[in-house]
């Protein structure tokens, strides 16, 4: 058992929270397998010894560090390829996010390894890891075992970052010769914020409004609550059709699919066309004045009441809590 390697993404001096989740998960699994979890990072000078060593508090005992371009996948494939050649890890784990997919898939091709994507849980059986992922619209879980090297790419927010109180990780520098094709992509601008378009797919918290709001102006109630919760506003197809909110916020069968940590539905009946777009949300809170609204069948917390009364008071209360 030669260990679990985890890719850790960073940006502007901070590690990505999905990557930290993957490290935490790897550390836990490594413990069960009787081996170690190591991290691999690729970047420039902002990857200081101090910063890299902090991965130890998430359970990584070693951090392999290479100098290379940030935010591109193929150079990282080269780095991990080299680390695997030198140290022979049995598994490589990625947290959710675009780069995880790109690197993981490229690595699978490079090493002729098995890869599983959108993994929500990893089990340990007979000294081996088994990756579990939802399929068919989250209606079933598929379990994968690996013949050789296993590449596991997590779903967004699947692994929670947990500090396990480990000491500083040892930082090991890796010299890598990049493949010719890895240098034929060049980052021009990275991480550009485009304020106007809030991408609801990335939001941790969504406050969604439906017909029950009564009129377009009532979306202000949703926006106020979203603001204090640090989230974004979404809308059902019906109200987008009616022109109450823009199409970019639409959730449902057509329109976007989301899986935030908190989905608060105000005045939404929960018809299946909407449900399929948000049923994977971690916590679903629904406010509707109709006791028989379908949404109460799958919400975690349902409030039967008048959203026009509840939303403003809830906004105040949350604001007060946050101080």
């Amino acid at each position: 058992m030669s260990g679990i390697l985890v890719y850790v993404l960073h940006f502007e001096g901070a590690f990505n929270k999905n990557s930290l989740g993957a490290v935490s998960e790897a550390a836990k699994l490594a413990g069960e397998l009787g081996t170690e979890a190591h991290a691999v990072v690729v970047g420039g000078d902002d990857l200081t010894d101090e910063l890299c060593a902090t991965l130890g508090s998430y359970g990584a005992t070693k951090v392999f560090r290479a100098k290379g371009p940030e935010g591109l996948a193929q150079p990282v494939v080269d780095v991990i390829d080299r680390v695997l050649d030198d140290h022979g890890h049995d598994y490589v784990i990625f947290g959710g996010g675009l780069l995880g997919f790109e690197i993981g898939a490229g690595l699978a091709a490079r090493r002729n390894a098995g890869v599983t994507m959108e993994v929500t849980n990893i089990a340990v059986e007979d000294g081996r890891l088994i990756a579990e992922r939802p399929i068919l619209g989250d209606s079933q879980i598929s379990r994968s075992r690996y013949k050789g090297l296993g590449i596991i790419i997590g779903r967004i927010n699947a692994f929670e970052a947990k500090e396990s109180g480990g000491g500083a990780a040892a930082v090991v520098d890796v010299e890598v010769e990049y493949s010719p094709w890895s240098t034929r992509a060049r980052m021009v601008t990275r991480g550009e914020q485009r304020g106007a378009d809030v991408n609801i797919e990335d939001a941790d918290v969504l406050v969604a409004g439906g017909r029950g709001l009564g009129r377009a102006e009532a979306f202000q109630l949703c926006e106020d609550l979203a603001n204090v919760l640090g989230g974004a506003v979404a809308a059902t197809r019906a109200v987008v059709d009616a022109g109450w909110y823009p199409y970019s916020a639409q959730i449902g069968q057509t329109g976007k699919s989301v899986a935030p940590r908190l989905y608060l539905a105000a005045g939404i009946s929960g018809a299946i066309q909407h449900k399929v777009g948000m049923q994977a949300s971690e916590n679903i809170v629904a406010i509707n004045k109709d006791r028989n609204a379908p949404i109460f069948e799958f919400s975690d917390l349902g409030i039967v009441g008048d959203l026009h009364q509840i939303l403003p008071k809830l906004t105040e209360a949350v604001k007060a809590k946050k101080g």
Binding site: V240, D241, Q250, Q253, T254, A271, Q273, P294, E297
Partner: protein, 578 residues
């Protein structure tokens, strides 16, 4: 719902549609802008594809004629994503015409192909006095189904599509035909629909206009509510001296069940319909066993049909079906099972006297478009197939002889089983317009005398001339539980209905109408397209919300004051088992 209980006649609020100008195009586009085909068939359902299949069989033995028809001898235009996607029926089919169409196939072959589900060996007909009891009655002759086959028209159309493609047809799916092209008093082809229009009909970035398709002959196989058929009927006076057409709405579910059903069941009411003549409820239900030869599953087709003749605005075929399922007779069959399909479709119920003339210069009508449904025995599929076959033979002869007309087709139909069977039941259903109790005896007389009586020609009244009132039918509807009874939206969901968010609205209705009419639409529509805003007044005029993206294109709205116009190709449900 405190209605005014005044009576509102849907026909008094005609939809904003200008049939001749919208659906007829005068003259073809120039040669380089159009497509030329030998025979154009509008509608890839049972009848249209039967015509395609038969024509290609004849052309296979006549390579010279096939060549002369050019690159595209036969083209079928189908607005659904695939043939069968918009097709729905009970259905228990008389096997003859399909056997004639494919003499090399056995009924076992049909089942292996996945569109047939077993021969009928037992049948039962019940009267239901209420929701708890049933009365078995001796099977009336029209309901004798021994030897017939339970099929799915949706699956059959898929099979026919494959056969037509093998035979050399071009099947243009996701393609609506929006106009009939008429030149010098003759149908010279059709025009396909535009794609990429927005909500208000405005061209979007990827707007693609339709194309004219020039054809030597055109077959209109649009089924129940063809816009081109309606326009053709008006243009060529095909309904002159005919009774008006009347319509029925059927809502159907398919269930996977734990125990196989061993018989075909029909119930003829009155429950769950209301007996009062004032309500105008006429209809019945069916429960058919289906054995899926490919998976071994035991399935059941269950549905309810109601004449759109009714007067209570709160009549909802979908909800009546959900109510029907609560009867112990049905529970005994469905309990422990799982719903696997749902759908809705209107059908022409006028019979013989309402059939339009079936040919016009350059074109013919086949199947439901020609009103060829026997609503007494609930049989229309075999007529669709036979009429398609006869149309193909008439067209073949006309092409061979260089004839310009297809008038012999009408005689062929009249003299075939289609004409003979429909003639027999020509007066059998009209008496029900007086109500179940008053009309019943006359209907029975007609059945008993095999159509000899009543004599003469009984009239039909138009569905949209019936004054509507807000009654109490809705009070009996069960609250859907999502496992055994279902609401409209989740039913629409399992049809695979995928309509572009910003597609143009293909439904024409007046938007500000009396409450009674708005309620009529709201309850009638099985897909929940029509809604009344919560703050609308209880009496007087209300503004109707039209959620046209839910529409499964059943066509019922056209019977009660609205109009279903050709939607963008590719939209709508994707039925597989209906």
């Amino acid at each position: 719902m405190a209605g005014s209980n005044g009576r509102v006649v849907p026909a008094a609020y005609p939809p904003p549609v200008d049939s001749p100008n919208e659906f007829i195009k005068r003259g073809l586009d120039p040669e380089d802008e159009r497509i030329e085909v030998g025979v154009a068939i509008v509608g890839g359902g049972t009848a249209g594809l039967a015509a395609a299949n038969r024509l290609l069989q004849l052309l296979a033995d006549d390579p010279e004629l096939m060549e002369s028809l050019g690159e595209v001898p036969v083209a079928v235009l189908e607005k659904a994503k695939t043939c069968g996607g918009h097709n729905l029926s009970g259905a228990v089919m008389r096997p003859g015409p399909l056997q004639e169409l494919y003499p090399d196939l056995t009924r076992e072959d049909w089942r292996k192909e996945g569109f047939a589900f077993g021969e009928v060996t037992k049948e039962a007909v019940y009267m239901l006095p209420n929701g708890r009891t049933k009365l078995r009655i001796p099977t009336p002759p029209p309901f004798k189904n021994h030897g017939n086959e339970v099929i799915s028209v949706s699956a059959l159309a898929r099979f026919q599509q494959a056969k037509a493609e093998e035979g050399g047809a071009y099947i243009l799916t996701e393609t609506a035909a929006t106009q009939l092209v008429v030149e010098d008093g003759r149908v010279v082809g059709v025009r396909s629909g535009d794609k990429g229009r927005g909500k208000e009909g405005e061209p979007l970035a990827n707007f693609e206009p339709g194309t004219d398709i020039k054809a030597r002959f055109t077959v209109l196989a649009e089924g129940c509510w063809g816009s081109l058929t309606g326009a053709a009927i008006r243009e060529f006076g095909l309904a002159r001296n005919r009774e008006p057409q009347v319509w029925e709405l059927g809502v159907k579910e398919v269930w996977k069940v734990p125990r196989p059903l061993d018989r075909v069941i029909h119930t003829i009411g009155p429950w769950p319909l209301r007996l009062s003549a004032r309500y105008g409820h006429i209809g019945g239900t069916w429960i058919y066993p289906m054995k899926d030869a490919r998976t071994g599953d035991d399935l059941v087709s269950i549905g309810l049909v109601v004449d759109l003749e009714y007067a209570d605005a709160t009549t909802s075929a979908h909800d009546l079906l959900q109510l029907f399922k609560l009867h112990p007779l049905v529970r005994g069959i469905l309990e422990g099972g799982e719903r696997v399909a749902w759908g809705a479709k209107a059908l022409p119920g006028g019979g013989y006297w309402s059939m339009p003339a079936l040919s016009m210069p350059g074109a013919v009508l086949v199947g439901d478009a020609g009103g060829m449904v026997d609503t007494v025995s609930l049989k229309g599929v075999h007529h669709s197939i036979l009429s398609g076959k006869l149309a193909a033979e008439a067209i073949y002869r006309a092409l061979k002889q260089g004839d310009a007309t297809l008038r012999e087709y009408e005689t062929m139909i009249e003299q075939s089983a289609v004409g003979r069977e429909l003639y027999k039941v020509r007066n059998t259903r009209q008496p029900f317009q007086k109500g179940f109790l008053k009309g019943g005896p006359i209907v029975n007389l007609a059945i008993a005398t095999r159509g000899l009586l009543p004599a003469g020609r009984l009239r039909w009244h138009r569905n949209d001339h019936k004054p509507m009132f807000i009654g109490k039918t809705h009070e009996a509807y069960p609250q859907p539980d999502g496992r055994y009874t279902f609401d409209k939206l989740s039913s629409v969901f399992i049809t695979g209905n995928a309509t572009r968010d910003d597609a143009p609205n293909h439904i024409r209705v007046q938007r500000r109408v009396p409450r009674e009419l708005a309620e009529t639409w709201k309850w009638m529509c099985p897909a929940g397209v029509y809604e009344i805003p919560e703050d609308a007044p209880d009496e007087g005029y209300v503004d109707v919300i039209v959620n046209y993206t839910n529409c499964v294109q059943c066509g019922a709205i056209t019977a009660k004051g609205g109009r279903l116009t050709p939607p963008e190709g590719g939209d709508g449900p994707l039925y597989t088992l209906t």
